[in-house]
């Protein structure tokens, strides 16, 4: 490595030259074909976020229909058959098509910016993952629109979801959709892991990585270990249903509980996969709102890692009612309570941060952050209750649990996400969202949320099981259910305000400038929205709060080729420059490969052996993907 001498007189000129070269190399291809060939992380990230919000809308409409049905006892608004499809689709949509993908979208968008590089490590894999997600979602929803919506619940317990008790293709669609979204999640996890480990800006040692990046890194590792479990089990279910294997058939030695073990081995970490980036958002928002360093950075990072690790030790607490040996149950009970400690530590660090700052910027993002504190705290405490085996046996599979996980997931993920949206949308679009509408949006959601879900705690104790399509008047559940439905209407209103605010602000919002919040992470140093190459010169980092500790004469990286998509690989621990790494450019092959895989997956739902055609097609498209190009500088391939 050489140390170049500063040459002030030529800097400006060089800068412009490099900028136009980068613009040319990183330009997204035009036209329809071009639109399908994009591999830049901003565009893919935005598409993830946009698609996920569409699915949120669908899941929300499903929820509203359910609340309408449950508003009155003995209601005949929806048939039981349709209601079963609705709640399955709602759960499935929210978990697989909204929560994880939207966080992945934010991670894909933000991580390269935050660690100071130009793109994720494997841009084409990234595009492939997005297409898999889209195809999986479309596949599931086409089924739903054709009366083939899954109806066995989002955890599809066998034998109810098996060949005998779920006739038709409904559950097959569901199981195969899982495979689609898991392929997508796994590709994103590999992206994020590699990007965080190797593409950080010089100087960004492990102890200087922004908390949000840490959180998505832990999330990526969790995905790598958790998602294979659901791919395996949904594959087993599909085989049981289509070719007559016996994984879950008790009469041939299979066991319905095997499904539950495999499912929850994924399903419980899934909750943390969703929640951990939520805490990452909160830690970032809190730093921005107080303009103070996060208190206890190391403690928070260790908490994230501990949570990720322990998240794999609690799956059995979803199965206490299946009659496990008492000793085993006690172990998982203890593990469930212990995982509250790292989350507690994070809470105390957040309190300490605000406390020592004494001042707060009360913008919409901060509102949502406080919404998170008050809601998630309640969800965490009911979670501790569910960790006790005797209490769990009372409230398991009742509306208490419904209340609990909505407090945890909406409180722990949606509220931080909304905060993050208000925080980062100015970066993504260049315009601020309207603050007044934002606060109206917050209060509608906050009040509506509590009105909807708080009564459900009581309903659970009063004996209302979840997933009932109706209930009788003499159960006395009518009043609280009606209250919940009114709350749901407020949430819907909040959602409309949110959409309206977004649409209005994109046209009339105040231009954001580079850094409207005085925030600390690298992405605020580039323009809003950032150029496709993120930074003309990759930045270097000299402190944990990159922009706050930045000095005017801090060095930047030069010497990267501007005639191809090139980034800098740095050391895992210390962030020292290691080598240059050439990224591939735009390509249509990820889409074609995704189509090939989709053909195989979808065909195998109907005729299992047709999977073979999918494999052959996929192999051919992969050949196209990796076909050696004549020009070794494949980054500058045609920009048509």
């Amino acid at each position: 490595m050489t140390e170049a001498q500063p040459q002030p007189e030529s800097v400006a000129h060089l800068f412009e030259e490099e900028r136009s070269a980068l613009q040319k190399v990183w330009r997204n291809p035009r036209g329809l074909l071009g639109w399908f060939s994009v591999t830049t992380h901003q565009e893919i990230g935005r598409r993830y976020i946009f698609t996920a919000f569409l699915f949120l809308l669908a899941g929300g409409v499903e929820a509203m229909l359910m609340r309408l049905q449950l508003a009155r006892p003995d209601n005949h608004f929806l048939s039981n058959d349709f209601y079963d499809q609705l709640f399955t689709m709602h759960g499935t949509t929210m978990m697989f098509l909204f929560a994880v993908p939207v966080l992945e979208g934010f991670a894909i968008y933000l991580v390269p910016l935050m660690v100071g590089t130009r793109n994720v490590a494997f841009p084409r894999l990234n595009a492939f993952g997005y297409w898999m997600y889209v195809f999986g979602g479309i596949f599931l929803y086409i089924g739903f629109l054709c009366n083939t919506g899954a109806d066995a619940g989002w955890f599809a317990y066998t034998p109810l979801s098996g060949p005998q008790y779920s006739p038709g293709k409904r559950v097959d669609f569901w199981a195969q959709m899982i495979t689609f979204t898991e392929v997508s999640a796994l590709s994103v996890a590999v992206e994020i892991m590699t990007t965080v480990l190797r593409l950080r800006a010089p100087g960004m040692s492990l102890n200087r990585i922004p908390i949000f990046v840490w959180s998505v890194f832990v999330q990526a590792l969790m995905i790598l270990f958790a998602m294979p479990a659901i791919m395996l089990s949904s594959g087993m279910l599909l085989c049981d249903r289509t070719i007559g294997t016996h994984y879950f058939n008790p009469s041939e030695g299979g066991d319905p509980l095997l499904w539950q073990h495999l499912f929850w081995f994924f399903g419980h970490p899934e909750v943390y996969i969703i929640f951990i980036p939520g805490t990452g958002f909160v830690s970032t928002l809190i730093t921005a709102a107080t303009r103070r360093p996060l208190f206890g950075y190391t403690a928070v990072v260790l908490s994230l890692i501990a949570t990720g690790f322990m998240g794999f030790g609690l799956w059995v607490h979803h199965m206490f009612a299946t009659g496990l040996p008492q000793l085993g149950a006690s172990f998982f009970s203890a593990a469930t309570l212990v995982i509250a400690i790292p989350t507690g530590v994070q809470f105390f660090c957040w309190i300490a941060t605000i406390w020592s700052a004494g001042k707060l910027t009360m913008n919409t993002a901060t509102h949502f952050m406080f919404g998170f504190f008050f809601i998630f705290l309640a969800g965490g405490l009911t979670g501790v209750m569910l960790g006790s085996v005797p209490l769990d046996l009372q409230v398991h599979d009742t509306y208490f649990v419904v209340a609990h996980f909505h407090y945890v997931l909406i409180g722990g993920m949606v509220f931080p996400l909304m905060g993050a949206f208000y925080h980062w949308i100015p970066k993504m679009t260049g315009r601020l969202l309207n603050e007044t509408a934002g606060k109206v949006n917050f209060w509608l959601l906050f009040v509506g949320f509590n009105l909807t879900f708080f009564p459900m705690h009581l309903l659970g104790f009063y004996g209302m099981p979840r997933r009932v399509y109706t209930y009788q008047a003499d159960t006395g559940w009518g009043g609280l259910s009606e209250l919940a439905s009114i709350g749901a209407a407020l949430i819907a209103l909040g959602g409309l305000v949110f959409i309206g605010n977004y649409l209005w602000s994109m046209r009339h919002g105040i231009p954001a400038g580079n850094d409207p919040w005085g925030s600390d992470t690298l992405e605020w140093s580039t323009t809003s929205p950032p150029p496709n190459y993120n930074y003309v010169h990759l930045p270097t980092v000299s402190g944990r709060y990159a922009l706050w500790s930045r000095l005017p004469d801090d060095p930047v990286v030069t010497g990267l080729h501007t005639d191809r998509r090139e980034v800098l690989v740095t050391g895992i621990l210390d962030g020292q420059p290691d080598h240059r790494y050439i990224l591939p450019g735009s390509s249509i092959w990820p889409l074609l490969t995704a189509i090939a895989v989709a053909i195989g997956f979808i065909a195998s739902v109907f005729v299992f052996h047709d999977l073979t055609y999918g494999i052959i097609l996929t192999a051919l498209t992969l050949l196209g993907w990796f076909w050696p190009r004549r020009d070794p500088r494949h980054g500058v391939k045609d920009q048509s």
Binding site: I138, I142, C146, P167, K169, G244
Partner: protein
């Protein structure tokens, strides 16, 4: 969106099979008049052959009804004679292409309703017609005469495996 066009095309393909997933528990009358138009068991009739009325089962291809038939097949102990999954036993096998009294839906319906010599009881008075149609739908699925996408790959009951005699009970838990 660009997906809209793609979505519409795929949707049209799927609409055709929507009916396969229909679950209508309250079908009652569809089969009411069927008894009068039952086909004859033999086509040898005085005065030459009469064109046989071809009545297709109202349940043909509907996954839910095939499944109902499967449940009833077990519940009514049809398997007692015809074997689990129609593999045969005291009574003839149902999972092959050999039909003594015909394999058309109406003929199977007739066999169940009126019974047949050498052991098959008449179930007409014992099973309501729509459930008989469900049984017909299931019986036809055993010999692959229903769309594969509408039939279950296996049941959760014991397979007619010669090695397997008993249900393997699992250990009990406290």
């Amino acid at each position: 969106m660009r997906f809209a066009a793609l979505g519409t095309i795929i949707a049209l393909v799927f609409v055709a099979s929507c009916q396969r997933e229909q679950r209508n528990p309250r079908v009652v009358a569809a089969s009411a008049s069927v008894m009068t138009q039952l086909p004859r068991e033999s086509e040898l009739v005085p005065g030459g052959s009469v064109p046989q009325p071809r009545i297709s089962s109202p349940d043909n291809g509907n996954a839910y009804d095939i499944n109902q038939g499967q449940t009833l097949f077990t519940a009514y102990n049809c398997a007692g004679c015809h074997g689990g999954e129609g593999g045969g036993g005291i009574g003839p096998a149902l999972n092959d292409a050999n039909w003594i009294y015909g394999g058309e839906p109406a003929q199977i319906f007739d066999s169940i309703v009126r019974g047949r010599p050498n052991g098959m009881p008449a179930w007409g008075a014992r099973i309501p017609k729509d459930k008989i149609w469900a049984l017909v739908a299931y019986v036809r699925s055993l010999s692959g005469q229903q769309p594969k996408s509408a039939t279950a790959a296996r049941s959760d009951d014991i397979e007619p495996d010669p090695h397997t005699g008993t249900t393997k009970a699992r250990g009990s838990t406290p």
